[in-house]
């Protein structure tokens, strides 16, 4: 079976040109849906990284009351040592160290100076910063130290960052789900658009197809230009989406550097590349699927 690349390229190009409006619609739908897919994936990866960074450092903080006695502090210290099954280690920051940390954290933030000015060394609560064996235990471990639930004297509060992380995760999960649902609907419609574009191309050339069958062109020879057409539509749409995803990453990056926080929301290059490759693969698969269904359904050779 001699298949000339030139022939397929020529036929594909002329098919696309004859059907350019339909082809454009298919390409744009693929591009939009894949941009959404890519953005959703980037968002997910970025949030995962951020969460990891936060929860990797400190899983639980135990704030003592500013006026906690030495005995009360010692008791908490011994308790944290006893719970070695759950707590890996704790750093104790006294009034001075805690004060320094607060200054550090609030410095440069909006309204941070006002907060710092109200702080004094004496009124800053000392804090235990603990790493847990399993960060998922944070809630139950925190409950043991929390004054309201355990009545442990001298303990002011035992917050764990998991609470705020969970809220962030929940928010991004919802956002991501919405993006993915929209993307899937759009991908389905782009599949149908590609299928229809190929169907129309086949219909427009039914005379030629009839002659080709008659003179003994092989099935693949007849099919290939149409397959290539669908594949090309998927690929071009995917390439547009690759650019959009790239730009959105740059956009996120500039936002991040502008606000100075969440620096880990920007992705390292290899994760971006992985996402982009996935976008291209999905585009090609959509194109191939749409055209092969059309060819099988409407081109009875």
């Amino acid at each position: 079976m001699a298949l000339s690349v030139e022939y397929v390229a020529k036929e594909t190009a002329s098919n696309l040109w004859r059907n350019r409006v339909m082809a454009l619609a298919a390409v744009l739908t693929v591009a939009v849906s894949l941009s959404l897919v890519g953005t959703a994936l980037l968002l997910r990866q970025a949030v995962n990284r951020q969460v990891q960074q936060w929860s990797g450092n400190v899983s639980l903080q135990i704030f003592m009351k500013a006026n906690a006695t030495q005995a009360e502090t010692n008791y908490v210290t011994s308790l944290t040592k006893q719970m070695s099954a759950q707590i890996r280690s704790c750093d104790y920051l006294d009034h001075q160290a805690s004060y320094n940390l607060m200054r550090q954290l609030f410095a440069g933030q909006q309204g941070g100076d006002a907060i710092i000015s109200t702080l004094t060394v004496a009124t800053t609560p000392p804090v235990f910063r603990c790493q847990l064996v399993n960060p998922n235990d944070a809630a139950s471990v925190a409950a043991i130290f929390h004054s309201a639930t355990s009545g442990l004297p001298g303990v002011l509060n035992a917050p764990y960052p998991g609470q705020s992380i969970k809220a962030l995760e929940r928010l991004t999960n919802v956002l991501q789900l919405v993006l993915l649902v929209i993307a899937i609907v759009l991908l389905a419609s782009s599949l149908v658009l590609i299928l229809n574009a190929i169907r129309m191309a086949i219909f427009a050339r039914r005379q030629e197809i009839g002659v080709m069958k008659l003179v003994g062109a092989t099935n693949w020879f007849i099919r290939l230009p149409f397959m290539a057409e669908g594949l090309l539509q998927g690929l071009v749409g995917a390439l547009v989406a690759v650019v959009v995803v790239l730009l959105s990453n740059v956009g996120v990056h500039s936002l991040v550097t502008h606000y100075g926080e969440f620096s880990s929301l920007t992705l390292p290059a290899h994760e971006l590349v992985t996402t982009e490759i996935l976008v291209v693969v999905v585009g090609v698969v959509i194109g191939a699927l749409g055209s092969s269904v059309a060819v099988r359904r409407f081109l009875d050779v």
Partner: protein, 268 residues
């Protein structure tokens, strides 16, 4: 070259299109396939092209049982069977030369070969001067010559023609027949289904007559309806000269059945 062995083909909800047909066509023969519309001529050709499979019986082309061919081998069978139709089936957006070249292009022949073969075959059919015309600029007879050139450019073993003169006036038809005769002389087997009494009577070639799917006559150097040695429904049609318009032939005694068959085809 072609052999039908007890071939039967029945379409759904219809009488048999071919019933127990056994026929043997040798290499280089020129065979007329005659009979009224709906007698099974077209089915005969479609089975040869393996556009359909027979219900029972076997068909051999060049010694090969085509019922045994896998689907992907079918195109290679068709490369050995050139095809010409009543309605020419040229591609209107291609020139004469491009139409002929298309048949070689799509089976992957080299450009160099295509160039020489196309020029040669256009000379053969007498259209060397009109290679760059569009089909719409040609007369019916010239268009049919292009179709024949396209069917023959690949030098098939067999040329199948389904009423190739059906749309042409008698004089033009005679020219087409001279061309087919010339192609036959190159050793190409020709099977031509036709209604054209004048042509069959003039050519005096082998005649295979079908009626309601039955083979009713197989006669060397036969005529359309006269001189039958088997009962024939076309009996009573006078032999007409090539100068009689083909419409006169349709006014024979079986016109009603022709109309009925056409109506049935229209519904399908």
């Amino acid at each position: 070259m072609i052999r039908f062995e007890n071939v039967t083909k029945i379409y759904k909800g219809s009488i048999g299109a071919l019933t127990d047909v056994t026929v043997d066509i040798g290499r280089g023969e020129f065979v007329f396939l005659v009979g009224p519309s709906g007698s099974g001529k077209t089915t005969f050709l479609r089975l040869l092209l393996r556009e359909e499979l027979p219900d029972t019986g076997t068909i051999f082309v060049a010694g090969r049982d085509i019922g045994q061919l896998t689907q992907w081998r079918v195109p290679y069978l068709r490369r050995n069977l050139g095809c010409v139709f009543q309605d020419f089936r040229l591609l209107p957006n291609k020139t004469v030369a491009e139409n002929v070249a298309f048949a070689l292009e799509v089976i992957g022949r080299s450009r160099q070969l295509i160039g020489t073969q196309v020029a040669q075959v256009l000379e053969l059919v007498g259209l060397g001067q009109k290679a760059d015309r569009m089909p719409a600029e040609l007369s019916g007879g010239e268009q049919q010559r292009v179709a024949i050139a396209r069917a023959f450019v690949n030098r098939p073993l067999v040329l199948l023609a389904d009423e190739p003169t059906g749309n042409l006036d008698p004089a033009t038809s005679a020219g087409i027949m001279r061309l087919l005769d010339r192609i036959n002389r190159t050793g190409t087997t020709i099977v031509m289904a036709t209604h054209d009494v004048g042509i069959v009577d003039m050519m005096r070639r082998r005649v295979i007559e079908l009626d309601h799917g039955h083979l009713v006559r197989d006669q060397a150097r036969g005529v359309y309806g006269v001189g039958t040695d088997l009962p024939s429904t076309s009996r009573g049609i006078p032999a007409v000269s090539l100068l009689v318009p083909p419409t006169a032939v349709e006014d024979g005694p079986h016109t009603d059945r022709v109309a009925a068959v056409r109506a049935r085809r229209g519904q399908r």
